[in-house]
Amino acid sequence: MADVPQVSITINGVAHSVDEGQLLIAAAESVGEYIPRFCYHDKLDPVGMCRMCLVEVEGPRGTMLVPSCTTTVADDMVVDTESEVVKRAQEGILEFLLLNHPLDCPICDKGGECPLQDQAYAFGPGESRFIEEKRTYLKPIPISDLVLLDRERCVICDRCVRVADDIAGDPLITFTQRGGAVQIQTFPNEPFSSYFSGNTVQLCPVGALTSVDYRFKARPWDLEHRRSVSLVDTMHSSVDVQTSRGKIVRVYGVENNAVNEGWLSDKDRFTFGAVHADSRVTTPLVKKGDTFEEASWGEALELVASRLGSYKASEVGAIGGAHNTNEEAFVLGKFMRTVIGTAHIDAQVGDGLDSHFAAAVTPRAKINDLDAAATILVWGPDLKESLPVLYLRVRKAVRNGAKLVVVNPVQTGLDSIATHVLTYRAGTGSDILRKIKSGEAEFADVHATLDEGPVVALIGRTSIAEDPRLGEAVAAFARSLPDATILPLLTRANIFGALDMGLSPTLLPGRVSIRSESGVAALESAWGPLPDFAGFSTMAMLHATVAGDLKTLVLVGADPVRDSINPVVASQALETADFVVAIDAYVTDSSKHADVILPAAVWGEVDGTVTNCEGRVQRIRPSLEPAGRSLSITGILGDLASRMGVALDASTLGSVSEEISTVAPAYEGITVDYLTFEGDPDGVVVPLADADQPLGFIPVEVTVPVVTGEFTMHLERTLYDDGVWVRNAPSTRDLVPLAYVRVHPGDASRMAISDDDVIVIADTVQLPARLDDTVSRGTIVVPANRRETANLVVTGAVTVDVVRGDA
């Protein structure tokens, strides 16, 4: 990285060399001179409102008192942060802030981690001289389902306003009134239902904003902290998991400047309650008749081992592994390939992308590449709903001048800041791609914008109804753009780690293609012979099970009935299969079909590493012992293997980690120890400099047929849906929006559909209609991942009928 030019400044008589262009408050902090502050935060534009950071700077007309958060360092600047004038000013500001501040410390969540307390103690006058009446407000008032506001405590620092408006793009919380009556408010009938509201609670320097789920739960000095990562999506935002008396009570954002920069979505923040949910399976369950009965581990494992061992290898398939750590995924792959001997293994459930594309597309972007991009192309899921922290990163890049092109069948959260928004009828993506490539007519501007490099392309499947090959076609085009890098977008937890550990029929650990003879040979030299038949993907496994070719399915944290494109085939498969074992923490629409459920340890209870969408490996740490009698799947599989008479050599985290580093080429040198003791705490992108990634997937132009039919379908995700984490966490389970189908008014009138009329999709799903002119003609938009659409067989084109009267 190029050296930043330096300037020489003197602080309190000591000369320092600091980076040019910095704010004085940041420069001072970088050399160990802390200047107190409330409104300044290094991720927000400075506002100079609290006046706590005033320092004296020598100028041509004598010494001036300036706010250090709005002053940029200049060569030969002479600064005094400790003069009598500065100290007097600091005392004055604190006295003013405490004038109307309620004496709530004993009952305020912030006590003990409160910048106002800390700075009053360090820089304040010690006693108040105020004997007038304090300003009071009704308190606290709920401003959303998750956040409470106490206006008496507010110090008017503007942090929450800037977070909501500038960072998140949700200007829902702001100042009203003026002077002493200034107060934070939300707009009438508009609660603060931003997906990022929890960040304001974390950043608020007092207890004015508190979260409903943490209020009164603990004192900061009672908390144990563990740095880990969030697995609600593939961003893997860095988090601080805070526990008290054996329970997780709070999740805070950690400033990882390579990933989330300290921000979290409310889903990252408020779904930890699912770990402690009563609905968790914490004892082995064996199906007797139609119901599950609790069993001992011995009984359950013996049953599974004997049943699994009774089938031919090619009759066994494993689906899942995306919710597990890299080490767990690796062991699962090793178990299936060497203990069972099957090649049928897939962590995706037919709802993702080609595994080579997802695991090894080149050149692959890093998230921070967004900051250097001239142009960003987003053609994939609505980031605000599916990868909200990535959405924040794109917003940041655009605020700093990057141009943005958004292509999608429906409006997305990024549209309002995009340079170009291209909306296409669902199923016709290849058509619009052709037009963009040609730069014809009204696409000339878009084409010209995309020609301004460096370009970062975020590419994924816009909906589960979209042909997965379209992403590849888009990526092939993106590659032709100047200095382009590609970020493949899948969303499920540790899917990228799972694929990197070989949980795909066409991948071996460490980004090796199954078709690579040298790759196969290298792995066989460590593991012994690998299966000699071609493995099935999840959809193929399900079809094969229905046909009777596959007899046994192992589900590892996977719910193909809910998540795959064909719930009908999935349930049929699970019903038809001879034997189904689910290693899961909850009873789901899929695991309920199992013959045995083995309780798995979940996020917060597992140790190891995980890999995010840019290939960054980070440590994930346990804060709790696995609930009840749950076990990590490494332990489960190790026991199964020994009962089946095969050593799995997966006894410790360390040994598994060593093995990965040895047999997975792209992960050479990456061990838990390396990450813990040597690697950057913000994680390391694989492969390391002197490691090799054998598979470099170059996307090629593929022909993707245009979907025809009266109606094409787009399945739209929302952040809060019927997913396992959201529905099992008390804070989020009631935040799922109403389900309805969006139809263009022109189509609606043609079919005599009005708002709230019930319509039938594909003869299976019935939902009320909502007319919406932002939807393309000939497309219907159906909510994804909901109870109401659970039975829907997903196709590109679909039939739509209206329910009439008593019909």
Binding site: I93, G179, G180
Partner: protein, 430 residues
Amino acid sequence: MSEPILTKRMVAHPSDSHTLSRYLDTGGYVGLRKALFDMTRDDVIAEVKASNMRGRGGAGFPTGVKWGFLAPATPRYLVVNCDESEPGTFNDRELTERDPHQLLEGIIISSYALGVQQAFVYIRGEYPKAARRLQRAADEAYEAGYLGTNIQGSDYSLELTIHLGGGAYICGEETALLNSLEGRRGEPRLKPPFPAVEGLYAKPTIVNNVESIANIPWIVENSGAAYAAIGPERSAGMKMVSVSGHVNKPGNYEIELGMTWRDFIFDIAGGIRDGLELKAWIPGGASAPWFVPDVHLDTPFTIDDVASNGSMLGAGAVIVMDENTNVVAAAHRLVYFFADESCGQCTPCREGTTWLADVLKRILDGRGRPEDIDLLLSISESISPGLKWPPMMTTICPLGPSAVSPVTSITRWFRPEIEAMIPGSEVSHG
């Protein structure tokens, strides 16, 4: 005393000085034609510089110099500040209500000189008559080809927008005004960047006071040097002064600066009414420190002299107090104004001004304590360190320090009077 510039027409023709026909009758829009057809834009700017005219809004910054700071980027804007909210000032109101075309001509010439295609006038919401009169004048001007496309057949075009404020003193601060004009909360911005570089909609903007702009036609017609020859060199030109309070002849006056305060109060303003004695006066609007007869009566009424004597001429607003004035009540009223008008952004002003008002109220109500006077000064120091003049500020803008002026004034000149209201203090017998 030189001839009036700004008030000549309205005094000579009180019934219709605001109409286009009277304006044209009395030499109106001659300066505009001269500027458009006989002068370059730089010529006009040079004349304004040569006039030595200092901005009439209160800061007194030389207008020509300010114009020179305008960054070259386009589009660029001229915004005329008619938010006139400083207690004691009402001259912009009179100029706008009674000679709107003079103001318009000044706007058009200035916009031409600055390369502005869109000008704004921000009028405080409490001046509906001025707004109506100006709008009607603008309509007349558009119809007669003095505004709009190809003015008077030249290739210069100008659009004018008149905008009403919502009732906030702070919107008289130029960056708060710009925020308000943009539809945001009327809160001052951080400077730098200055409006001349990044102003309205982040484009280069000149913000000028009504009175400053109203002088431009005369300067262009008669030359900058002729303007500079009026009055003292560093307070050149004719100045509107609003006089209110306990005088016999309150009102707006247009004067040449340089006379003493004695001359101004007793000759021009007619002396104290009811034959009472002069107790104190505020030389420059509510923000200014007070003057007292014993010290200041024979000092000159110019921008620089008032400043060196510890106050400011500001926008030209003199408030006169007679011997019966309860100075604590007066100070409270002024401080309460600032507390009410504070935008609330920064801690010292938001909390400090309210606290000052509360303490003064308590003293007025007879519940003061002996330590309250020093408390008032200490609070004031937290807003304005060292209580210096010109003030050092811990605040974003000068509103906070403005609230301090009445406090420092009464404690400096009338301390025994305050003490007399406080039970238990040495002076009081309560």
